[in-house]
């Protein structure tokens, strides 16, 4: 069978697991195209007006896959929990219900199950079994596939810890071991991106910020590259843990990067009307005031213009350079990425 996986939201966290599962069962995976203007328009047309952009984009991807007649099922899992007492945002835990409401005519083609990933492999197995049964696979094959799925996810985590972004993992999904062994090139400046993986990695929705930074000679790290063990002590600063796993990772990871000496600045990325990110952005603000490390918030929406974003990133890089004592960008440095005409730097 052909399973459509929308390239949005938890795709940027659990894709290796899903890939391992479906491919080991012998199903063909159809990814939706990376977010583009058309997908955003589809999403905006099919969702309520005051929901966050990430969820709107997800609507677009699901609609795109449902419109393709060669896709049998669209995979919309409900990720309930990701760690002990850490859950997901209400909109995400209602996601299958939202999809059924938005695309009522195609609701039979939406494939869903509840994932309680915190409760260990037993619960992951239970969820996958539900899915496998809907696809008509035997128990034995499912068992094997789940093992494969968990193996893939573990390998992906290894790659992340080694400093590779999730986009590289998606590109090299067939050879994750190879990717893990490639060392990451160190650059003079390093900027940390704090935020939900689906905001950080969705290159259209966030104006391709990763590429823009890399073109300007800045290395990037993200909060999902960190092992939770290194930042758990920031609970004391936050007084109380946040309820949402990814928000905790973004907040504590951001705090950790503000403290760490080899990071020059922190950029937090969130989508318009994302309620949860407003909480950790305030925490990062207050903490950076204490420590004195530059923090910039970028909030993207469906109308964000590229030019404004470029200006802000340039200003941020200038700020970092000045802080390091390198001075502003000179004309000679101004050669990065001029071929495509987008990343032209003016002085």
């Amino acid at each position: 069978m052909k399973i459509g996986i929308p390239r949005a939201l938890y795709f940027y966290v659990y894709y290796p697991m899903w890939y391992g599962f479906f491919s080991s069962l012998g199903h063909e995976i159809k990814l939706s195209v990376p977010t583009n203007k058309e997908i955003i328009n589809l999403g905006v047309a099919n969702s309520v007006d005051d929901i966050c952009i990430s969820v709107k984009v997800f609507h677009g991807h699901v609609k795109y896959l449902l419109d393709r007649k060669d896709v049998d099922f669209v995979f919309v899992p409900r990720i309930v929990s990701e760690d002990k007492y850490k859950y997901t945002c209400p909109k995400l835990s209602a996601l299958p219900d939202l999809m059924v409401s938005a695309f009522n005519n195609d609701s039979k083609r939406i494939l869903t199950a509840n994932f309680y990933t915190r409760q260990g492999e037993g619960h992951i197995f239970k969820a996958f079994k539900e899915i496998g049964e809907q696809l008509g696979d035997s128990d034995e094959k499912i068992k094997k596939a789940v093992k494969e799925a968990i193996k893939y996810q573990k390998m992906a985590t290894k790659c992340l810890r080694a400093g590779h972004t999730f986009l590289e993992i998606v590109k090299n999904i067939r050879d994750l071991d190879g990717l893990a062994s490639i060392p990451v090139e160190k650059k003079r400046y390093t900027v940390a991106l704090a935020g939900f993986p689906y905001d950080v990695y969705d290159s259209f929705a966030n104006g391709d910020i990763i590429v823009k930074l890399q073109d300007s000679g800045v290395g990037i790290v993200t909060t999902d590259m960190l092992d939770p063990k290194v930042y758990n002590h920031y609970k004391k600063y936050m007084i109380k843990d946040l309820f949402w796993y990814q928000a905790n990772a973004a907040a504590k990871g951001g705090l950790y990067y503000i403290d760490s000496s080899d990071i020059d600045g922190v950029i937090s990325i969130s989508s318009f009307n994302c309620g949860i990110s407003s909480i950790y952005q305030k925490l990062l603000d207050l903490y950076s005031k204490e420590i004195g490390k530059p923090v910039m918030h970028i909030i993207v929406d469906e109308q964000t213009g590229d030019a404004g974003l470029v200006t802000r990133i340039e200003a941020f890089i200038d700020l970092i350079r000045v802080k390091r004592g390198d001075g502003l960008v000179t004309q000679e440095d101004n050669v990065h990425g001029t071929e495509d005409g987008v990343h032209v730097r003016g002085v």
């Binding site: 969702s47 309520v48 005051d50 929901i51 966050c52 409900r78 007492y85 859950y87 997901t88 945002c89 209400p90 909109k91 835990s93 209602a94 219900d97 939202l98 409401s101 938005a102 009522n104 509840n114 936050m238 007084i239 109380k240 946040l242 309820f243 949402w244 318009f272 009307n273 994302c274 309620g275 949860i276 990110s277 407003s278 909480i279 952005q281 305030k282 925490l283 207050l286 005031k289 909030i299």
Partner: protein, 385 residues
């Protein structure tokens, strides 16, 4: 009492502030109730909160800030009722603390009264410690008395409110019931701390309101209100939506009240949840926190009870309510009931708001008219055939 040197302040919600006030007064503390939401509290709250934080957070932050600002010589305990759940409500008090400290206030501490959340072996002791922190050491009968009196006052104000909104569309002289109501609320607030006297005042005032000259009619259009609890229950935040609808000649009912909220969420959560899952089947059968599931359930229940329309009131960007809003559009189509979603934030203007309400009421009236005509038409068409 001055020897304790602690003043309490609580979030103001609708008319129920009287109950909180008497609760702390019986325990022997000073209480200062924040002023109702106005431009000044909003300005203070909005300028210091994160931009996309929920509207109730901004309102409350503004109210507390004004209280601290106006009474620099007192030491405050700010009561924040919260939970640990999918809704952002669970993280209010750490942010209050950090923001108010950042603004330079030092004369306060925040007591967050949370429910019991897992792990239970840690949750129960934590809850008890919080309760003691909230009220201090008291003889058990004083605390119980304070609870009972506060409960009765909440009940009384809600009874009066319900009566008010029943009477307004029926009264002969517009505005006459409201005058009696305002007086009644004051006398409940100042009632002596005895259940008997509160009961007596309540009964007298209810009779007073009922005796106001009015026309009995039961053919008024009926609108139910669902949505986020705080926006729904506080008249100063929802721009008095209930009163406005009542003056437009609508029988209005609010789905969430302090009394039924406490009953459903704290005293019998299990049966409430089971009921909710049964009603919501096929729409949303998963816990999403806040009042999202309740909004969907109450919309369906309102339809079953014969209501003509439902208004969903939510703060802008409320996490559970936006999720519910999308599902409500399907409920609305399946059950054939008009649903109007109104998002409130600091920029909600009165004029535009009233226009939308009027348009909605017109829609409901014309739907009623059509239905009546249809009944007549059926007769005509059968006779022609």
């Amino acid at each position: 009492m001055s020897h304790r040197k602690i003043t309490y302040t609580v979030p103001r919600m609708g008319y129920t502030y009287a109950a909180f006030e008497s609760f702390f007064k019986i325990l022997g503390y000073d209480v200062i109730i924040p002023e109702p939401t106005n431009t000044e509290t909003l300005k203070a709250g909005v300028s210091n909160s994160p931009e996309y934080m929920c509207f109730p957070f901004k309102i409350l932050l503004g109210q507390f800030e004004r209280v601290l600002e106006n009474n620099p010589d007192r030491y405050f305990k700010i009561i924040s009722l919260e939970s640990y759940g999918p809704c952002r409500f669970g993280y209010y008090s750490p942010l209050y603390y950090k923001i108010l400290k950042d603004k330079g206030f030092t004369n306060f501490e925040i007591v967050n009264v949370e429910g019991i959340y897992p792990p239970i072996y840690k949750g129960i002791p934590r809850f008890i410690v919080k309760l003691i922190k909230l009220t201090g050491w008291h003889a058990p009968w004083t605390s119980i008395k304070a609870f009972v009196i506060a409960g009765w006052k909440v009940y009384a104000t809600e009874q009066l409110e319900q009566k008010l909104f029943y009477m307004i569309p029926r009264e002969k002289v517009s505005g006459s019931t409201e005058k009696i109501f305002n007086r009644a609320i004051e006398s409940i607030r100042n009632a002596p701390n005895k259940v008997k006297s509160i009961k007596k005042i309540l009964n007298d005032e209810l009779k007073n309101m009922e005796n106001n000259s009015h026309v009995d009619r039961d053919d008024l259009p009926k609108i139910g209100l669902v949505g986020e609890a705080y926006i729904l229950m506080d008249y100063s935040n929802n721009l008095d939506i209930e009163k406005k609808l009542a003056y437009m000649g609508v029988d209005v009912d609010r789905s969430l009240r302090v009394t039924n909220w406490t009953l459903d969420r704290i005293l019998r959560p299990k049966s409430h949840k089971a009921h909710m899952l049964e009603v919501n089947k096929g729409y949303l059968n998963f816990f999403i926190g806040g009042d999202g599931q309740e909004s969907i359930m109450n919309t369906i229940l309102y339809k079953k009870a014969g209501y003509d329309g439902v208004i969903q009131a939510q703060p802008f960007g409320c996490l559970p309510e936006t999720a519910a809003k999308e599902i409500l559009s399907r409920v609305s189509a399946d059950y054939d009931i008009p649903v109007l979603s109104l998002a409130f934030d600091e920029q909600t203007g009165e004029a535009g708001f009233v226009t939308r309400l009027e348009a909605f009421v017109d829609l409901i009236k014309s739907r009623r008219q059509k239905e009546n005509d249809k009944d007549k038409k059926v007769h005509i068409s059968t006779s022609v055939n």
